[in-house]
Symmetry: C2
Subunit: 110 residues, 2 copies
C-alpha cells in the first residue's frame, strides 16, 4: 500500500520533489542561495563568492530567484548604484537542502 | 572568524556543496535517483516513472549516473534484453537530499 502511494506521486504533477527541482535544479541556483545564506550581499561580493559563474548567468539566475520570491533585491539610489541581495523567508527554507548537499559532499566527494 | 572560514570555502575548489552540485544538479538527476530509490527498476518502469523526460535525456542521465557510480546497471542476456537499475551505496546516500527537496516542496510549493 505504501508503495502504491509512492508510485502515485510519481505520476502526479504535484509531486513535491518535482516542484522543488523545477525551482532549484539550475546548475548555480543552490550555490547562489548557499552563498547568500543569512547574509546581505552586494552584487560584487556575490560575483566573487560564486567562483566560475559568468556575469550573464549570475544576473539571469538572480532575476529568476527574485521572480520566484527566493531572494529580494534592494537598489540604493546612489552613484554608483548599490544593489543588495538577501534571502526571503522562502529562500531561507532552502538552506536545509544545501546542508544535505554539503553533508553528502563532505562525506563522499571532497 | 567563523565568517572567514565560510568565505574561504567559497573560493575553494573542494567546497562540498559545489562538489555535490557538479554531480547532482542536472534537471533530472535527483528525480531519477528519487524514482529508483530503494527499488530495482527496469528501464521501461523508470521511463514511465520519470514523467516528461525524453528517451535521449533519460539514457544520457542514466549513463552519467552509472559512470559516477551512483547507479548500477545490470543487463540480462535475454531476448528482448532486460535491463535493471539500482542505486549504489553512494546513490542511496543522496536520498536524504531528496527528502529535503520533498519537504521543501510539500511545505511551500504544492
Amino acid at each position: 500500500m505504501n508503495k502504491n502511494i509512492i508510485k502515485y506521486q510519481a505520476y502526479d504533477a504535484t509531486c513535491p520533489v518535482r516542484a522543488s527541482l523545477m525551482l532549484l535544479s539550475g546548475k548555480w541556483t543552490l550555490m547562489i542561495l548557499f552563498q547568500i545564506n543569512e547574509n546581505v550581499m552586494r552584487y560584487g561580493e556575490l560575483k566573487r563568492a560564486v567562483v566560475g559563474i559568468s556575469e550573464k548567468m549570475l544576473i539571469q539566475e538572480l532575476n529568476m530567484l527574485v521572480e520566484n520570491k527566493l531572494v529580494t533585491k534592494k537598489i540604493y539610489p546612489e552613484i554608483p548604484p548599490k544593489v543588495e541581495y538577501q534571502l526571503t523567508e522562502l529562500g531561507l527554507k532552502t538552506l536545509p537542502i544545501v546542508d544535505k548537499l554539503a553533508e553528502f559532499g563532505l562525506e563522499n566527494l571532497v
